[in-house]
């Protein structure tokens, strides 16, 4: 990893005088970039601009887009109760699942880090759900596990507790999805393990000679030195959580139910676009999502100054 870091550092620096003519270097460079440039213009930038245009129109795929100015955005923020439901569901999901997932990942990584035997085995076992978790198969499994006759209730019954239909009850359905996300903490754990390994061992040595308790070592050494990794993980997981779709779609049969309890933002967007063919409105929803994710990322970076420590 360290080698790669220095490789990255030399990027842009220490460039030697070009041995080829300028024209040739342009031909070469853009020759290699050709597929990417075609994709960038044709599948990313072009469509992004077009969707920005569509967001100001009414468009149902059949008749031509009709310009309605800010109409879609006004409706989103003022007269669309479902948008606010989707916002509430999504924010609850994101701000519950991400901290829980990272907390769990860090706790397990700490346990595995301290010279524990069998580390590779544990690491593999904990990583497996994270690798499989994106599959529809797992969402189906989850739907059965938390249904009224499901595995979870069987286990509860053995303990003498009467269960309920966790996915069919509006109050609990979202929490089963949170649990499904937390269950996939493995990849975050691996990133934490890599981060923990970068902390120089002599720091702990010095600290314990000075009589610092393990607790104090954690809060004074481990946690501060790990903040860049925590920050990185938090950003990636948060953005990803905002885009969650599969689990809610499978568990609710694409409805976002029961009673909109699992109406993730992306699910609502999908319904508007592909069930009701309100393409202009869905495009506006997509841009609102971009703005939400952009704002949260910007705020996170701003706040990071106060708690993330980078090596000088």
């Amino acid at each position: 990893m360290r080698e790669r870091m220095t490789g990255a550092a030399s990027f842009g620096g220490a460039t030697r005088p070009p041995r080829t003519s300028k024209l040739q270097s342009i031909r070469e460079g853009y020759g290699f970039l050709m597929p990417w440039l075609a994709g960038l213009l044709g599948l990313t930038l072009g469509p992004a601009l077009f969707s920005l245009y569509l967001s100001f129109t009414k468009y149902d795929l059949v008749s031509d887009p009709k310009w309605i100015g800010m109409g879609n955005y006004v409706r989103i923020f003022s007269t669309d109760p479902k948008f606010w439901i989707a916002m509430k569901v999504t924010f609850t999901y994101v701000f519950l699942s991400v901290p829980l997932k990272l907390g769990f990942a860090l706790a397990i990584a700490m346990m595995l880090n301290k010279g524990l035997r069998g580390l590779p085995i544990y690491r593999a076992l904990f990583y497996l759900p994270s690798l499989l978790g994106g599959s529809v198969a797992i969402a189906i499994l989850w739907r059965q596990v938390f249904s009224s006759g499901g595995l979870f209730n069987q286990v509860l019954a053995m303990l003498g507790i009467k269960g309920m239909g966790w996915v069919s009850t509006p109050e609990t359905a979202l929490y089963t999805l949170v649990l499904l996300t937390v269950w996939q903490f493995g990849s975050s754990m691996i990133i934490f393990l890599a981060g923990l390994r970068q902390i120089p061992a002599d720091m702990y040595e010095a600290a314990s000679i000075d009589g610092a308790s393990p607790r104090r070592q954690f809060f004074r050494i481990t946690l501060p030195l790990l903040t860049p990794v925590i920050f990185f993980n938090a950003i990636v997981q948060t953005i990803d959580a905002f885009k969650a779709f599969n689990s809610a779609f499978i568990i609710s049969d694409g409805t976002g139910g029961p009673v909109n309890a699992t109406l993730f933002y992306t699910l609502y967007l999908f319904q508007e676009a592909f069930s009701f063919f309100r393409m202009g409105y869905a495009a506006a929803l997509a841009w609102v999502l971009v703005m939400i994710i952009g704002c949260i990322t910007a705020i996170s970076f701003f706040m990071s100054r106060y708690w993330v420590h980078y090596d000088e």
Partner: protein, 289 residues
């Protein structure tokens, strides 16, 4: 990065008892986590009367009838769905590895005006949610007559749209000594030959990592096939599983679990054989899965 754990430090030394406690705890956690998975695979092997109403994972006898029922549970057999998934995934792997490595090579090794700008744009597209381009892409593919074919799922992969893999490869290419291609340049090698004869052979680990992740992501992809595929004969396994829930009306859990378990097999195989690559890929780049 080595796999060996750091030596025990004086301050961290614990009694043997606390080690036992820790192992007990970790074993319990992993058992609770993996139990649902084990239970699903076990359920798919049980006689269908035994599936519900028990939390046990031990079948009275192993019975493959769920697999037969599930395989033919829809109008089109699951053989077709798995084959479709395989075609889409393999083509995506080829597209991603080819075009992302070309792009990454240009970013990591060539000097040309506008390179840094392009690189910044590429990083920017990493942050852009897919949903923004979703509708225009749909309209584009609709007008091209590509709906209900594999083209919308595969063609973008041949245009290096998965910026993540570009990033992964750039990181790796930069670690390869520059002297190698400079020497080759002096000998009159073209950029193409350097890419083909020097970079690619030295980059097998990162190409393999990208290929495996690319396969897994495509295999598990649900959103794009859901939107673009309409005819059941074109379904990938993930979309087929979804329509299985609808059609069987939740009565045939055995068949559903059998097909779900089969859909997890390819990913599981990669996990078993290439775990090290996967874990290193995540640790060095911070991938989300």
């Amino acid at each position: 990065m080595s796999d060996t754990a750091p030596d025990m430090l004086p301050g961290m030394q614990r009694s043997r008892w606390s080690g036992v406690r820790k192992h007990t705890f970790l074993c319990c956690v992993s058992l609770v986590m993996l139990y649902p998975l084990l239970w699903m695979v076990a359920a798919s092997l049980k006689p269908s009367t035994e599936i519900l109403n028990t939390a046990s994972i031990i079948p009275s006898h192993v019975d493959f009838s769920s697999y037969r029922r599930g395989w033919f549970g829809l109008d089109v057999s699951f053989g077709t769905f798995f084959l479709n998934s395989l075609i889409v995934s393999v083509l995506s792997v080829i597209g991603n590895v080819m075009t992302c490595s070309l792009t990454a090579f240009a970013f990591a090794r060539l000097h040309f005006p506008g390179r840094n700008l392009c690189f910044a744009i590429m990083l920017g597209t990493l942050m852009l949610p897919y949903h923004v381009v979703l509708i225009p892409q749909y309209i584009l593919f609709l007008n091209l007559g590509w709906i209900d074919t594999f083209l919308p799922l595969v063609v973008p992969k041949f245009m290096a749209t998965d910026a993540f893999f570009i990033f992964l490869m750039v990181q790796f290419f930069r670690g390869i000594p520059r002297e190698l291609d400079e020497a080759a340049r002096l000998d009159g090698c073209s950029a193409w030959r350097i890419y083909y004869k020097i970079m690619l052979p030295l980059s097998i680990p990162v190409l393999a990592t990208a290929a495996i992740f690319s396969f897994i992501f495509t295999w598990d992809d649900f959103f794009a096939p859901l939107i673009y595929l309409g005819d059941p004969g074109n379904y990938t396994s993930q979309v087929a599983l979804r329509s299985f829930i609808d059609s069987s009306n939740q009565s045939d859990w055995g068949g559903l679990f059998a097909m779900s378990s089969l859909a997890l097999v390819p990913v599981f195989i990669f996990f078993v054989f290439f775990q090290r690559l996967l874990i290193e890929g995540i640790a060095t780049t911070g991938m989300k899965r």
